[in-house]
């Protein structure tokens, strides 16, 4: 009695016994006690495995934008080549250059053009190529951290962590929002504080407050904290 529009229905045969009673211990932490369903025995593990993969993907760049750009470039080149060869095939005059003339010019290359123009063109092409190549080869890590959660996978942008730490530093130092700047990178948190002129700041207190907030947040990987108190103060803050 299945419908055609449920291609991902997970079918389980009724005569397969009752997995919900067999694996009650496995599913106790996972499913609701009232409605355990057949085939859920290994669901918890599979969710974890799937989540690990998702989290790994979420902290890396997908390079979708670069892929679109590369595809557009290749498509444009192909369309142009098609146009010129089609014009030649039907015996029309070429739009920019006829393929045969183009090939002959290419074979004669250092001659026929100014070396400066050729070199500049080569430089630009090599630059674009280098950008594409580095984009593909470098790890492309996004500035995100992971948080532990019993139920879901949690990714946090570093900006959010920075603003939370800035709030902790601000309240500990008793300064305004503009006097604190926090930079969060993969393994280091730098807290820059400009004190109010005439009001001394206790660096340890700021450090303790920021580290306390960070401990409770427990991002992975755990960054270390550095506090810089500026030597010059702010007047009238």
């Amino acid at each position: 009695m299945s419908h055609a529009q449920t291609p991902h229905a997970r079918r389980s045969h009724p005569d397969r016994g009752h997995p919900d009673t067999l694996h009650a211990a496995d599913t106790a932490d996972g499913d609701t006690p009232g409605a355990p369903a057949p085939g859920t025995s290994d669901l918890g593990d599979r969710i974890d495995v799937g989540l690990q993969r998702i989290l790994k993907r979420e902290t890396r760049s997908s390079r979708a934008g670069m892929a679109g750009l590369a595809a557009a470039l290749v498509i444009a080149a192909c369309v142009y080549a098609l146009l010129e060869s089609a014009l030649r095939a039907i015996g029309q005059p070429p739009w920019l250059i006829d393929p045969q003339t183009a090939a002959e010019r290419l074979t004669a290359l250092p001659g026929g053009t100014s070396p400066l123009l050729l070199g500049a063109l080569g430089g630009v092409v090599a630059m674009v190529g280098l950008i594409f190549f580095l984009n593909a080869v470098l790890p492309g890590r996004k500035s995100r951290h992971l948080l532990r959660d019993p139920r879901a996978g949690v990714v946090v942008d570093d900006e959010v962590i920075a603003s939370a730490l800035a709030r902790a530093a601000r309240t500990a130092a008793n300064v305004t929002q503009e006097q604190v700047m926090v930079v969060v990178s993969q393994r280091l948190v730098v807290v820059n504080v400009r004190p109010t002129s005439g009001v001394p700041l206790r660096e340890e207190r700021i450090l303790a407050a920021v580290e306390d907030e960070l401990q409770r947040m427990a991002p992975s990987p755990m960054p270390s904290v550095r506090v810089n108190v500026a030597t010059s103060g702010v007047i009238g803050a």
């Binding site: 449920t6 389980s12 969710i47 989540l51 595809a71 603003s163 907030e213």
Partner: protein, 203 residues
Amino acid sequence: MNGTPHVLNRILIGILGLKLLAIGILLMLLATVPAVGRWWQGWSTGLWEHAKYLSEQTRIPGREESWLWIAAAAVLVVLIVLMVAWVSQQGKGRANLIVSEYDDARTPGDVNIGGNLAEQALKAALAERADLAGVTVATYEVNGRPGLRVRVQPRQGVSPHLLAADVSRLVEALDLVVGRKTPVLIHIGAGARTRFSKAERVR
């Protein structure tokens, strides 16, 4: 969380980058080093002569043109189609159902629960929070199974771990309602809306 092919993207972008890099370096060498120019002329003229000879051999009977032109055009068309297919792979993977069950043992028929249910429920539950600038919930297909992606944008200064715990509790409540555990990704992100909004001082 979506089905963007990461590895394929890297490989294809890398190939294109290497080719452009090689062409660019060759052009620069041609412009600066005369010896490379002489080598290039000899090599490429030989190649061009060979191509001309081939096109003489492959002439369509009764016509001037070679069928190599048609073959080249076909290759180009195939390449364009492949590129379009590649682009269409980016960001795919949205799903409509979060639960799709077939179990005749207890209830006859299918049980389908749309992803909209989870999306609307989570959005409504988070809508009244003053410390959030935006919430988006979407259903994606992960390894052939549906999963939820919850993206919340807190205002400045909100502790992400407390927010994550709150959202996680809502997800557990949703598990109770739906009767199924789906993989959930909570993304606590920053955007233009959070950057220019005022800081959250009181909760």
